[in-house]
Symmetry: C2
Subunit: 316 residues, 2 copies
């Protein structure tokens, strides 16, 4: 296992914080030193189109076309389709921009043509000028379903239609038993030049959880250090259901609870500077800790954090 | 069979001239006195979406949202989807506007839901405020294929991708043998109040031909007078392959050739004022003839022509 500065990085990511950090790493590292494996548990079929929200967020971030203000979808997006659809009586709860729609239509076309989701993602990434491999966690569908106090909900029904309001008691992964990690994810993990696995600051349960579950089921474990970047900032998350889910799923919203949740999997944790006081208790759990500003509002924030995580990883 | 001024009208239409005349009739007649039966031979599946170009043209005309300048698609259309699709390497030969796309996505959703094309067309028409029934000729697919000097071509491949340049020797209708006329078309033809069937100024071979073939196969014949409106103006057509196809399919571009083509089916022919000299030869074929300006550039042209055809029909 190489530990030189030339080793490779595998980043596990969801669609929000992890995708921002992915953009930071893609700015820093050559394409052959970085693989980004992305959650597909949120994937679903809508209006006959296969939607991969987290994969698309990473793709749009790396292509430099994500709407940074909104945090999802394409910059300069227009909504003529959506308005026309609504006036025809079509469903409006999941918003598909005119440009974004092209991604799903093309994905559908190539999947129909017999390509795997990995192949389609490579193809569409390349068309957008992305050279770094973006790998869906699996080419087989694994659907995140949430056991909530309003019943069992599909992920998008919970996350978009109900705006993540129901309390989540458990996360189920439909299709997990037959899903394999995508070939490029297996290859990245088995690459002898792999230096570090980084778990992005994504939701531990619905973004990172499915990726970990797919790897666990395949009995694949990183043989290099694993560093998680905490999604918490002063005990809160930027947005999304991370805080609420930590509360209901593991009973506590803290970096220590996150560390226990990732126990046996991670060697180090990157926490926000505002949570620096957590450092001793995390070190007591046997973890290396880096406390640094982790909020990524600008491209420069993303690059700086990526660079610090990388330097931290290479000193482990 | 009623011949009072309260009788009903059935208009057979393609997507261009016939659709313009349909808009004229819809302006004149109450919704319960007019049925518009539309060719579906041009229908095809593109990017996984069921496209019904002629039906949509009639729908857009009657909803008052067709782009009159362009002659197809929606007014104020935008093309963000198309541009994004092209930049992803997707097919650009068939242009789908952002708003238009909503129609095909909704059509797909309801067809998938088990509705017939007739039911979906009613539903989408109603959503756009159209009360007059627009009826696809059949709920079963009938695909127009063209035997050309460049081989056997699908309709859109001939019409859009090759811009109607190949010489057409014959028109084949795939699926005709199992297609039934749509229930509302059968009902309109069997309605004892039906006064007149009007064949719109559409292409006789690829727009009207498929409707006639479906009716012929079902042994359905109008029991009221049938009036065709010629698509020729001074021996030429506004646009499209009508002239070229008359030349290669029936050897002559003239109202007399058109009358022979429709022989046994029509009782009267409406021709353009510029072709008034054709009147005696057409009357010699046993037809009643009305010569009047038939070019429909404005809403007022469309209403005037519809009113004249209607008055002519009621005096037959």
């Amino acid at each position: 296992m190489s530990r030189g500065s030339d080793g490779s990085v595998l980043l596990l990511s969801g669609g929000a914080g992890g995708a921002r950090l992915a953009a930071g790493f893609a700015d820093l590292l050559p394409a052959d030193k970085l693989t980004i494996a992305v959650n597909t548990g949120d994937d679903f079929v809508h209006l006959g189109l296969p939607i991969s929200p987290d994969v698309d967020s990473v793709v749009y971030w790396l292509a430099g076309i994500l709407d940074e203000q909104r945090g999802w979808g394409r910059a300069g997006e227009t909504w003529a389709f959506m308005e026309a659809l609504t006036s025809l009586g079509g469903p409006s709860w999941f918003r598909l921009g005119d440009k974004d729609l092209a991604m799903h239509v093309e994905r559908r076309r190539w999947l129909e043509n017999g390509e795997t989701l990995s192949e389609v993602t490579s193809r569409l990434s390349l068309a957008l000028g992305i050279t770094c491999p973006i790998v869906p966690m699996s080419d087989q569908p694994v659907a995140t379903r949430l056991d909530t106090d309003e019943g069992l909900l599909d992920f998008q029904d919970y996350f978009v239609a109900r705006q993540a309001r129901p309390n989540v008691r458990n996360v189920l992964l439909e299709g997990l038993e037959t899903a394999q990690p995508a070939p490029a994810l297996v290859a990245a993990l088995q690459d002898e030049n792999l230096d570090t696995v980084i778990i992005g600051p994504s939701n531990p349960f619905v973004s990172i959880g499915p990726i970990r579950a797919v790897l666990d089921r395949a009995k694949l474990r990183p043989s290099c250090p694993v560093i998680a970047v905490s999604p918490l900032f002063g005990g809160k998350a930027v947005k999304g259901p991370t805080v609420a889910m930590m509360q209901t799923m593991i009973g506590e919203v803290s970096n220590a609870a996150l560390a226990r949740h990732y126990a046996g999997w991670i060697d180090a944790l990157v926490i926000d500077a505002a949570d620096a006081r957590d450092e001793p208790s995390l070190e007591a759990l046997g973890l290396k800790v880096l406390a640094t500003p982790t909020l990524m509002s600008t491209a420069s924030d993303r690059r700086r954090l990526a660079a610090e995580v990388l330097a931290f990883a290479r000193n482990l």
